[in-house]
Amino acid sequence: MSERELNILVGGEAGQGLATIGPLLAKCLVRSGYQVVVTQSYESRIRGGHNTFAVRAGVEEVAAPREAVDVLVALNEETATLHRGELTPRGVVVAEEAFAAGGENVVAVPYKELAAGRYRNVASLGVVTCLLGLPEDLVRQVVEGYFGKKGKAVEENRAALAAAYAWTKDLDPSLARPLAPVTDPPRRLTLNGNQAIALGAVSAGAKFCAFYPMTPSTSVPLTLIAHAEELGLVVEQAEDEIAAINMALGASYAGAPALVATSGGGFALMVEGVSLAGMTETPLVVVVAQRPGPATGLPTRTEQADLEFVLRAGHGEFPRALYAPGTVEECFHLTRRAFETTQRYQTPAFVLTDQFLADSFRAVEPFDAEGLEAVGAFAEPEAVAEPYERFAVTADGVSPRLLPGFSRHLVVADSDEHTEDGHLTEDLTARTRQVEKRRRKEEGLRREVIPPTYEGEPRPEILFVSWGSSRGAVAEAAAELASAGTATATLHFAQVWPLVPEQFLGHLEGAQRVIAVEGNASGQFARLLRAEAGVDVASRVSRYDGLPLTPEYVLRALES
């Protein structure tokens, strides 16, 4: 008997190899043709503690994490104890002999016989992939792709894998949980959300990033750094987040499409810079990877509680756009979109993600590298009126942008209110004209808003409203309700600002009951809907314990 879907949970202490086994397992599954959703849950420490890496894998599409575990891989005893209760009735435990308590469905692995200490990671990977029915050749290729094909370690890893497969194949077949094979697996990438954000940025022509490390945003700049030389990028670790955003603005003013990536506390330090971007009309993409606050909060967990903060960040009034990807593909495409928006409208654009999505590996169709043009939108020095005025008042509020040093035209930008030529002024008529000019950009931004996605029955009993990374959990919860006979629909927002009520009011009014599902305690998006569209969303499902929303969580909340 083979499975169409399995949820595999690997757990252990930090430093036990989870960070290696997890991504390798995900990659083996993706290469074998399965869809995956990875959920990483870890503590804010480098050694010890209790961390998990869950891979939900399916022959068909999987969109969200699930709570019930089919295969529990315990790298330490604590994992076995903590997660045994999450096993399905047929769930299997894979653990080292020494602490694998007896009973049915327990695979007690004699790791000491299979491999020497540091190669045990690969042995445990091999035991799991063998139980899942993945071919040994494929797993070996993935392992060699990671550790390299040369040196002593290669032989040792190969031997560990072979020993693991030989040992596992001899087990009672009732312990195996083979996934139904996918013939001709499509060529898909294994990417997490932050990697996709970095790739989306460079595909749009990003050339500059400054950052100060902060979980869960750091893997965005780290991904950029890994490809910096090949792609001609400049990435600099700044002395603090204030420096990071001001560096990015200096670079962008001088022509380099730029981004910064940070999380709540770091973003708080950047806020004055966000306002500077608005005033100097300097393009900038700001990636905010949310984690639970206030203050340092739960540094390595997830939440969707910085929506209002990011939306309002920056003193004074200026337009902005906020994108909230719901999948890893969207991380790529919406980051590209954010670059298009910020270059075209010369005002900051935000990508709001969170720890769950940042760390969630998925199977992703390769992006088409052909059609990817840089999104730079500079004016031609010959084409501008003389004398050049950086902040010329125009009908759509967007002034022709020249780069300093490329021609005799001088480019003057000021954080003070300024005249059209960019010099500081206290002329209040000039002030009024610049306020109105900046505001007019909002009209263009609104015309280009990505409408929310509506799926399901036209006049449902239940309509779920969601935004950002909770997309998959809500879609699956809705599908379960629908298959149980309730007329259900979902309304998902991938762009959360500006909001254009005409795009979705009809959907909200057509439903008997509207439920907003969000990863925060106070219902920030529901509040925004009331403010912007005048609709009261009476029911809410909120999660704020630091873990991602799951379909089970949503359905449980409806019952209670």
């Binding site: 420096a243 560096m247 990015a248 001088a254 001088l410 003070d416």
Partner: protein, 283 residues
């Protein structure tokens, strides 16, 4: 040849008699002597009376936030290493609000010239103590004088191994113009601390006070010896040295980024072949 006049003449918001006027003329003169045309030059500044100076110059300007001119200048330099970048700052802006960025800029050795209009007071906010205000300098905010000891920017810069450290005085315009010329010609980070009397709020360190104390370093002073430079940097009180205090050859920051070698980042295309190769790595 570029002329000082090419940098224009504008009406200013400064008080009559302020030391900033002479400073501005020295900047124009120094740039003209370095043969830099206005469109080749970018001034980056923060907020303060000093930070307004770029508005009174015909050049490219990025006038950003109080204390944040150095990071903005660093970003601009990385994006386009063909621009000659000068930062104009008050003593509050980069010795106070942006202090961390000053330390970082020295460590990085960004190719930027920082001109500090050091009036030993906060001008724009009307006379509070600044990081360089002397002990006993009483203000409405510090009725008994500053509560902290004054910051010695030159000593800090020398101690950190900054690439080019100098002091000028607006009362020595010709000397100052030469210093600025040298600083912009220097490859790496150059700090020129410029003593600039504030006639409105600093009645202690007046023009006469400086005039009496300032002297020019002699021809045979060797600015490449760090210990001697540190000693000069600490000289303050009865005698205040002017000139290049310290100089040290260092690799320029932007050389550490291979991407900057291809020219300004803003006009580099997306390398779609490289992008496709990179995607393969995630297969």
């Amino acid at each position: 040849m570029v002329q000082a006049e090419d940098y224009g003449r504008y009406e200013t918001a400064w008080c009559p008699g302020c030391g900033n006027f002479a400073l501005l003329e020295a900047v124009k003169e120094g740039l003209a002597r370095a043969d830099l045309a206005p469109h080749q030059v970018l001034f980056v500044s923060g907020i303060g009376q000093a930070a307004k100076a770029p508005h009174y110059l015909n050049a490219n300007v990025f006038n950003g936030l109080h204390g944040r001119s150095l990071p903005a200048a660093t970003g601009a330099r990385l994006a386009n290493a063909e621009l000659k970048i000068l930062v104009q700052s008050g003593d509050g802006c980069n010795y106070g609000e942006g202090g961390n960025h000053l330390l970082a800029a020295i460590r990085r050795n960004v190719d930027v010239t920082m001109l500090v209009h050091n009036n030993l007071v906060y001008g724009l906010t009307k006379g509070q103590a600044s990081p360089t205000s002397e002990s006993g300098f009483a203000t409405k905010a510090q009725p008994h004088g500053p509560t902290a000891e004054p910051f010695n920017p030159l000593a800090a810069a020398v101690a950190m191994g900054a690439s080019f450290v100098a002091r000028g005085f607006v009362g020595e315009g010709e000397h100052l113009a030469e210093l600025i010329k040298q600083a912009v010609g220097w490859r790496g980070f150059s700090l020129v601390d410029i003593l600039q009397p504030c006639v409105s709020f600093n009645k202690l360190n007046t023009h006469a006070w400086f005039k009496k104390r300032c002297y020019k370093l002699s021809e045979d002073y060797d600015p490449t010896v760090r210990e001697a430079a540190l000693e000069k940097a600490y000289e303050w009180g009865d005698r205040i040295p002017l000139g290049v205090i310290y100089r040290r050859e260092r690799e320029a920051f932007e050389n550490k980024f291979p991407a900057t070698a291809a020219g300004p980042l803003g006009v580099q295309p997306v390398d779609s072949e490289a992008f496709a190769r990179i995607l393969e790595k995630y297969y």
